[in-house]
């Protein structure tokens, strides 16, 4: 298993190096020898209205994605990303406006007349989101299918892969962090873990989008946890926030403010942790690849390939650890909200 992971990681890193190299080389060419590693890295970790894989010579290999917009006066409108770009260089810009709508060179959507418009486009990350959802759905439902077909027997196939994780999340995360009421939250925690884990791993593939390293995604996940925590908060939980026991009356105004802010810092920490861990990993890998084109040296090429492979292996670990940590902390916050605990334990 470990050897397979290592081999895959090596393969991925080599592919990533090749594809990124191609696209970067083409980008460099387009800018006539002027190198911009920051732009190259940012282009890879940010969202975009089209899915750019790599370049072969002057040809951009991309997937045009649907652009969906809503504005109060024009209603819902559908375009494709290729409507808004130069067909040769695939560059977005205000000069390529289409039906009064443009996508600028920072990939922001806007209206030529300056009116307000909401962007519901299937961007690269949204498309990636669908891929991740399809992946998770496929292996989870086929794992469950094993039990549906064979009843309560030993796991086989997809089930033998999914089952240990399910048991781990149920017994090691949910039960330990939440306590006796854990079964209600296990399905959410399982979905969270598998979604983040799959997103992290698929995000490491060359040409894939940085889904779980996108702030909007981690924000949404953290908000869902926030809602679940506070909807399930029991009397003791709210008492702890608004009338913290064991605190002198004079200090209570300060403590209540601190506790109230604490409600929001927990999901904020969840959001930032996943975003930073995944984005930082991508930046490090891309930075090592960028070194090759900055120094234009074979020895640096070999060295950075070795480093990229090494970082990729670490990223495989980080992908799992971050999924675990996000799930664990969500479970702990839920546990804090539903537990019939004694406050003495915490002070």
């Amino acid at each position: 298993m470990t050897r397979k992971f290592l081999l895959l990681s090596l393969l991925f890193s080599v592919l990533l190096l090749n594809f990124s190299g191609l696209s970067f080389a083409a980008g460099k060419e387009a800018e006539e020898g002027k190198e911009d590693p920051t732009g190259f890295i940012m282009h890879h970790i940010k969202d975009s209205h089209e899915w750019h894989f790599f370049n072969v010579g002057h040809t951009h290999i991309t997937l045009a994605l649907p652009v969906i917009t809503y504005s109060s006066d024009r209603g819902l409108e559908f375009f494709t990303s290729s409507d808004f770009q130069n067909p040769e260089t695939h560059k977005f810009g205000k000069e390529f406006a289409h039906e009064g709508i443009y996508i600028d060179d920072h990939d922001h959507l806007g209206r030529v007349d300056g009116g307000s418009i909401i962007d519901f486009s299937i961007t690269k990350n949204v498309a990636m989101l669908f891929v991740v959802i399809a992946f998770v759905l496929y292996f989870s439902v086929s794992a469950a299918g094993h039990y549906r077909k064979h009843g309560a027997v030993a796991p086989k196939g997809a089930a033998s892969f999914v089952e240990p994780i399910v048991i781990f999340v149920r017994d090691e995360i949910a039960l330990k962090a939440i306590g006796p009421k854990h079964m209600k939250f296990v399905p959410y925690l399982l979905t969270l873990f598998f979604f983040i884990w799959t997103g992290n791993l698929l995000g490491l593939l060359p040409g894939a989008a940085n889904l779980t390293g996108n702030i909007a995604v981690t924000f949404t996940l953290a908000m869902i946890t926030f809602v679940i925590v506070n909807v399930n908060g029991n009397k003791e939980y709210w008492k702890h926030v608004f009338a913290t026991p064991g605190v002198p009356a004079a200090l209570l105004p300060i403590i209540v403010v601190v506790e109230f802010i604490g409600l929001f810092t927990k999901p904020f920490a969840l959001m930032v942790r996943l975003f930073v861990a995944i984005t930082a990993g991508h930046i490090v890998i891309l930075a090592f690849i960028a070194l090759v084109f900055i120094f234009e040296s074979y020895s640096i090429g070999v060295l950075s390939t070795v480093m990229v492979t090494f970082i990729n292996m670490i990223e495989l670990l980080v992908a799992t650890i971050q999924a675990y940590v996000f799930t664990l902390f969500s479970a702990m916050y839920i546990g804090g909200a539903v537990a019939e605990h004694h406050h003495d334990d915490h002070h």
Partner: protein
Amino acid sequence: MDLIIPSAGLIFWQLFGFLALLFLLVKFAWKPMLATLAEREASIDGALKAAEAARSEMANLKAENEKLLQEARLERDVILKKAQEASVKMIEDAKTEATKQGAQLIETAKAVIETEKKAALTEVKNQVALLTLDVTEKLLRKKLSDDKAQVELVDQFIKDLKLN
């Protein structure tokens, strides 16, 4: 697109997509899977408990058998002892009886002999008396015929007597 400012469109799709995924997975994967796992764990637990119960029952049974065997052994010993005692007593009794009967027989025999002896003596006495009577009669007869002959006869008889 910005790095640290969440975009509304992606939040919308992420929320929609994740909630859809959550719904589908809960319905088609986690609920059946968790139920099956719980069922399987319960059945494994039950099987283990049943095995444990069977083992303890087996041990009980073995102990009981051992106890029964022990009791049987004790009983056998008791029976054997009793039988031995009975046989010894029987032999003893038989010996006593035999001795007693022998003594009785000897007693009876002695009595019979005594009786016979007395009878024989009586007979002898009677015979002697008869003989004496005969002799006396003969003597008397002889005396009646001839004194001399009488004397001779007496002598003769005396001689005979002495000879006898």
